[in-house]
């Protein structure tokens, strides 16, 4: 369900790290809670984010949800194709529907995030 190679935040973002780059999106649990996604707003490339900073907004027909960066870093890439086709967030949240790539300020900062197993248990406790 939740890819082993990612780390997860309590705000339901995932991050997949490769060297000093982290690719960020929202989890399958988050997209299910939202329902049909119809709008996505992403930051400009170059923006500096602190951990927990809002980097965008995702909206379903019924709900608005802020997107929070699980790590500190600089936005080096955004998925502009996704903004034009936000329904991919429902279809492939952990793959095609990545949202931004950040250059990590401190790769060790991942330690505060959950692994797949811990995140799975976390969403189960939230669902109850």
């Amino acid at each position: 369900m939740y890819p082993e190679e990612f780390r997860y935040s309590k705000d339901h973002e995932w991050i997949g790290v490769d060297g000093d780059r982290g690719r960020i999106g929202i989890t399958d649990y988050a997209q299910k809670q939202l329902g049909d996604v119809v709008f996505l707003e992403l930051p400009e490339v170059g923006r500096t984010l602190a951990a927990g900073d809002q980097f965008g907004t995702v909206e379903s027909v019924k709900a608005v949800s802020e997107l929070y960066s699980p790590v500190a870093g600089e936005v080096v890439e955004i998925n502009s194709a996704l903004a034009a086709k936000p329904e991919a967030i429902n279809q492939d949240p952990h793959g095609e529907a990545w949202m931004i790539v950040v250059r990590l300020k401190d790769p060790a900062a991942l330690d505060g995030l959950m692994d797949a197993k811990a995140y799975g248990a976390f969403v189960e406790s939230e669902a109850r």
Binding site: G35, D36, V38, F39, S60, K62, V64
Partner: protein, 347 residues
């Protein structure tokens, strides 16, 4: 499931957009049992209803229904309602779930003389079968001649063995029926309808799709698009305000007649968002540099694939083509008044 007027109701079943599209193209089934039902019966029933509603009840023949409202003395709705004439002296008034207690207290305060007024909400479940395939799905389940039940007409009979009222009414902008049935028959009826309609594409639909469907059809939501601070004329409901001499005096008539003749100072307008973003209920509406109000209803419209909404604008600035801004998370996003309904079903 979400709490709604004291009921636990599903926002969606298979997905809001899929449900919305099913109703536009095939059919959807809604459990709207939360709606309230009052019975008004007796020699004085017609006279009482003429005094407390805006529309002309006397025009109804038995078996006919009418969209109406309960105006206060300022011409603002206590609620919007549908009045069903079941017999010369017997009416069913369907009210919004959240307003049942308020409406009942209001109607009692208006002196229901020569008639009885009873809250029968607990005796009716309400199932809405909506969409272009609705008649085809219902036909094999009932001896009622559905073709003779025209828009805003109803018949009493049986569907799938359950005694009920079948009304050709709804809140989606599509053809369809609302079935008033005793709660003990509701579950079996729901199941029978879903089974019968499955091959034609019938799906259960939730509160979420109900809201986007009604908004595309510019049907108003009480508490959002109108309330006790908006007159019926401002809300664009002049068509349910009857000044017919046979109706006579009713609550708010003076104000409503005056506004009908000379216009209201503001009007509920339909708009499309021109810029990027979804305008939602409560977002600020800015005309020039002046905040003129809030979005009363706003959403992504799944069939139209646009972001649409309703808001009150000063009457001189409410014509189609007028441009204004909606404040979305601190940014001003352009919007434009458009003709409504946003969606009209093909006939």
């Amino acid at each position: 499931m979400v709490p709604f007027g004291g009921w636990e109701m599903p926002v969606e079943y298979s997905g809001l957009i899929a449900e919305h599209m099913a109703v536009r193209e095939k059919a959807g089934l809604f459990d709207v049992s939360h709606m309230g039902e009052f019975e008004v019966e007796g020699r004085g029933a017609l006279g009482f209803l003429e005094r407390v509603t805006a529309n002309h009840v006397g025009k109804l023949v038995p078996g006919q229904a009418q969209y109406s409202a309960l105006p206060d003395e300022r011409g603002c709705p206590i609620d919007d309602v549908i009045v069903y004439r079941r017999a010369e002296e017997r009416f069913l008034v369907v009210v919004n779930a959240a307003n049942i207690d308020k409406d009942l207290a209001w109607l009692q305060s208006q002196g229901p003389n020569g008639c009885t007024l009873r809250d029968r909400s607990d005796e009716f479940a309400l199932i809405a079968l909506q969409g272009p395939k609705a008649e085809e799905i219902l036909r094999p389940l009932t001896p009622i001649d559905l073709a003779s039940v025209a828009f805003y007409r109803f018949a009493e009979g049986e569907v799938a063995g359950a005694p009920l009222i079948v009304a050709r009414t709804g809140y989606t902008g599509e053809d369809g029926f609302e079935l008033f049935v005793a709660p003990e028959h509701a579950e079996a009826l729901w199941t029978a309808l879903l089974e019968a309609g499955g091959p034609q594409g019938l799906v259960p639909a939730g509160l979420g799709a109900r809201d986007t469907l009604r908004l595309e059809a510019r049907m108003l939501l009480y508490g959002n698009d109108m309330d006790e601070t908006t007159t019926l004329i401002e809300a664009g409901l002049g068509w349910i305000v009857s000044l017919d001499e046979h109706k006579g005096e009713f609550n708010g008539r003076a104000v409503l007649a005056e506004q009908k003749a000379s216009g209201a100072p503001r009007k509920l307008a339909g708009f499309e968002v021109v810029g990027r973003g979804i305008a939602r209920h409560g977002y600020k509406v800015v005309l020039g540099d002046e905040a003129v109000g809030e979005v009363t209803s706003g959403s992504y419209a799944p069939f139209l694939r646009k972001n649409i909404g309703l808001c009150y604008l000063p009457a001189p600035r409410a014509a189609a083509g007028t441009e204004f801004d909606v404040e979305i998370r601190g940014h001003r996003v352009a919007a434009r008044v458009v003709p409504t309904p946003f969606y009209k079903r093909p006939r």
